[in-house]
Amino acid sequence: MNALNRWVDRLPAPVRPLLAAVLSLAAGLAVALVLHYVLYRVGLPSQPFIYVSF
């Protein structure tokens, strides 16, 4: 994170807020993707169903 902050600090001043906004938006999108996936996984039964024919 610090390395990213330093990299952002080195960018020209007008680019910085734009880049931060784009990265923030992308981070929000990524978290949404992960949350959606987590919702799917937590809904699946933890024990697999084993079929036995009688």
Partner: protein, 405 residues
Amino acid sequence: MNPPDANAPRARFGWIRPGWFLGGLALGLAGMAWLGYRSSRTDFHPDYIRIYQAISPETSYYPTLGEMESIVRAQCRPDQVLVIVGGNSILQGVWQPLGEVWSQRLQALLGERYCVINFAFRGSAPTDGGAVVAEALRKEFPRQIYIADEAPLTGVGSWGPESYRFPFWQAYFGGQLLPEAARDARVRELEADPVQRRALREIRIADAFGAVFHQNDWWNQVCYRWLCTIPSNLGPAIPELLKPRKDYPDQEPDATDPAWLARRYPDDVLPAEMQIERSAALFYHSRGADGRWRLADATRQDLSSLFATAFPAPLKARTLMLIGYDSPYYRGRLSPDEASRQQQAYEDTLRLWHEAGYPAIAYGRDFNENDYGDRIHLSKLGGAKLAEAVAPAVRQVAQKLGYIP
């Protein structure tokens, strides 16, 4: 203008802009919900024939209600009579390879005016899977017939084993099922039990999220088409685990293949199979004064009560129940007394289904050993005979209900 102070404290969230981040989060969730909704309305099983291992709970793949409804919409037209096959592994077509599944034969026999879709799951009850899909589609496909099977003298509840309740809960909490007092009463029974109540609450919450975000619809599509992240016995570890489920074909063996014939009726399970064979009527019948087998009143009442509430009243007349005889390899080993008692069990079962308002037929009494792959499952030969027995019954139901003039 003052130059930026390099030593000034950084904003609370570093380079993250909370407004943009929350906007991205909201946009992302909305986008995923839209993709999920699209998935629930998309048939991504273009060559669907039946549920098989790679798309079943056996491999931790839980087809959603929307996924199954989409299969029906893609394959059937509303002007056709929709015939949905539910029930268990027998009707799924275990031992019948693709191309020779009994439901495919049924489709061929019934012709273009009917559309047969097989949603039977292994170990499933008559009121699971296909029953839920048919009921949920009753308005889109009002001319529909549902086919399920069950063993003789076996009760049928409003829903079956826990592993297959997922479409039921989706439809129930999603308001897609008919109002039915018996089902509601059973749900209230679950809610009265502290352990069950907690499980039910979790299901209700998951289904509430699912109704908005369609997470199972989307990730099922991802798993089936592109990349699966669910461990299963198909591929418990990477890289097999990641293979899309479409790359695992339906490889149901052919019971008539010489490689399997020798293992069809193994000697080491004969005592256990015969015990099951005898048990169909063992506990419920006794000889009457006239020498005939009589079903115990308590059993009769229990079964009548269960059959009466298994399906909502408006759906009974279109629900065709099949009661299958086991392989003659085992039936032929019953004593005459046991055989007559078993026959009485089949007759009593059919009568009880009829009295409860369902069309019902028995099949398999005249089948031979080659028609079976084991005690209960039919080979492709038996499957073809089953289709020939069921097709006239389906036509009869269709005519009685006015689907076909």
